[in-house]
C-alpha cells in the first residue's frame, strides 16, 4: 500500500499508522488553539460591547486547574460576569490542548501501534501532567 506509493510520492513514504497519528495530533493541537482563541476573543468583544471597555481587572486566587474551571463556571450564574467566564474557558481549553494531545498519544501507542514502550513513556508524561493539574 503505502510502500508502493513511496517511490512516486516520497512525502508519503510512511506507514499508514504513522500517518494517522500525525494527522490526529496535528488536528488536536490546531483545534485546541483555535477554540481557545475564539473563546477569548468572543469574551473580549462581549465585554467591550457591554461596557465599552476592554480591561478585565480580576485576579485568581491560588487554585488548581479543576477549581479554576469550576469557579469560572459558577460565575455563569451572574449575568455581569459572563464575558469573563468565556475568557477563563479559553485559557482552560488552551491548557487542556497539550494534555489531550498526550492522552491521544497514549491511546494511539497502546491500541493502534501496540507499542508498549511508548505507551509507558507517554503514560508517564500523562500522569505527571495530571498530577500538575491537581497541584494546589
Amino acid at each position: 500500500m503505502a510502500r508502493i506509493q513511496a517511490s512516486t510520492h516520497p512525502e508519503k513514504a510512511k506507514s499508514d499508522h504513522h500517518l494517522d497519528m500525525e494527522i490526529l495530533i496535528g488536528y488536536i493541537l490546531l483545534g485546541g488553539v483555535l477554540l481557545s482563541v475564539a473563546l477569548i476573543a468572543i469574551g473580549f468583544v462581549w465585554r467591550w460591547v457591554r461596557s465599552g471597555n476592554l480591561q478585565f481587572q480580576y485576579t485568581v486566587a491560588g487554585m488548581n486547574f479543576f477549581e479554576f474551571v469550576l469557579s469560572s463556571l459558577r460565575q455563569m450564574a451572574s449575568h455581569e460576569l459572563r464575558p469573563r467566564v468565556l475568557v477563563n474557558m479559553g485559557i482552560a481549553v488552551l491548557m487542556l490542548t497539550p494534555f489531550v494531545r498526550v492522552l491521544a498519544s497514549v491511546f494511539y501507542f497502546a491500541l493502534v501501534e501496540h507499542n508498549w514502550k511508548y505507551t509507558l513513556f507517554t503514560g508517564f508524561v500523562l500522569s505527571v501532567l495530571t498530577y500538575s493539574l491537581f497541584l494546589r
Binding site: 491560588g62 469573563r84 508524561v125 500538575s132 494546589r136
Partner: protein
C-alpha cells in the same frame, strides 16, 4: 497595563519570536518588566502564551511530517519534570536572581545564535544501542533540496538528562527555551536542523503546561492579563511566519542578535542595580 499596550507588546514579541524561531517569551518578559510588571507575574503569564504559540506552530509541523514524535515523546518525560521543578524554584527565589539568570540565558542564546551560521550538517549513521532501542529514527521529505532525508537519533542517554535542564530553565523563566532544546537535538542527538526545531516546538507545549499549572496554583496567573497576551503573541507569530518567507535569513539574524544582546545586558544590569 492597559489592554492596547499589552496587546501591542505581545504582537511584537510573537512577531520577533516567530521570525527568529526563539519563541515570544524572551522578548515578552523583558518588555513587560520594563513597563513595570513584576518579573514573577511576567514569567507566569508568558508561560501560558508559550502553550499557545508552541501548539499553533507544532500543529502545522506535525502534519507536514517533519516532527519526530518518538524523539519528542521520549524527551518530554525529562522536560516536564524539569519545568515543575523550575517553576517551584521561581516561586521561592528572589527577583534579583531571576533578572540576572534571565540576562545570562539571553546572552547564551546570543552566543548560540552567533555560532549557528557556521555549522554544516553533521549527520551520522552511527547509533548507540539505547537510542536504537528507543526507535529514534525517521525520515522526511525536504522540499528545498527535493530529497528524502533519512536520519538516526544518537546519544539519547545524554540527551534525556540534558533536557531536564532545558525544562528547568523553561519553568524557571517562563520561556520555551527552544534554543537550548534545539542545541541538544543538534549537537548531542545529531538530528537534522529541521527535525530539531520542529520537534523542540512540540515538546515546548507540554513543558509550558507543567509550568503553567504551578503558577496557576500559586495564584500568579491573572486571566485578564494573560488573555490579551495570548491573542497578541499568536497574532504576531502568525504575521512573523508569513513574513519570514520574504526577509532574508541573514537580515533576521542580525536584527535578532542585536535585540538579544541589548535585552541580555539590560536584564543583568537591572538585576544588579536593584536595591
Amino acid at each position: 497595563m492597559p489592554f492596547h499596550v499589552l496587546f501591542l507588546v505581545s504582537v511584537l514579541a510573537g512577531f520577533v519570536g516567530a521570525m527568529t524561531g526563539m519563541g515570544g517569551g524572551v522578548i515578552l518578559i523583558p518588555v513587560l518588566t520594563f513597563f513595570g510588571m513584576d518579573i514573577k507575574h511576567a514569567i507566569a503569564v508568558s508561560i501560558v502564551s508559550v502553550i499557545a504559540t508552541s501548539s499553533g506552530s507544532a500543529s502545522a509541523y506535525v502534519r507536514d511530517r517533519i516532527t519526530n514524535l518518538k524523539v519528542g515523546m521520549f524527551l518530554e518525560m525529562f522536560t516536564i519534570v524539569g519545568a515543575l521543578a523550575g517553576a517551584a524554584i521561581t516561586l521561592v527565589s528572589g527577583r534579583r536572581f531571576l533578572f540576572i539568570l534571565f540576562g545570562i540565558v539571553l546572552l547564551s542564546s546570543w552566543i548560540a545564535l552567533l555560532r549557528q551560521g557556521h555549522e554544516g550538517l553533521h549527520q551520522t549513521t552511527r547509533q548507540d544501542s539505547f537510542s536504537r532501542w528507543l526507535e529514534l529514527k525517521g525520515s522526511y521529505y525536504d522540499r528545498s533540496v527535493q530529497q528524502l532525508i533519512v536520519y538516526h537519533g544518537d546519544r539519547a542517554y545524554l540527551g534525556g538528562p540534558l533536557m531536564f535542564g532545558a525544562g528547568l530553565i523553561a519553568g524557571l523563566l517562563g520561556i520555551g527555551a527552544g534554543a537550548l532544546k534545539v542545541l541538544i537535538h543538534d549537537l548531542v542527538m545529531r538530528l537534522p536542523p529541521k527535525v530539531s526545531t520542529t520537534t523542540s516546538n512540540l515538546i515546548i507545549g507540554v513543558t509550558a503546561l507543567a509550568g503553567t499549572s504551578v503558577y496557576l496554583a500559586a495564584g500568579m496567573i491573572d486571566p485578564g492579563l494573560a488573555a490579551p497576551i495570548i491573542l497578541g503573541v499568536l497574532f504576531g507569530a502568525t504575521l512573523g511566519t508569513r513574513l519570514l518567507v520574504r526577509l532574508t535569513n541573514q537580515m533576521v539574524r542580525r536584527i535578532f542578535l542585536g535585540v538579544l544582546l541589548i535585552l541580555g545586558i539590560e536584564m543583568i544590569i537591572r538585576g544588579v542595580v536593584r536595591s
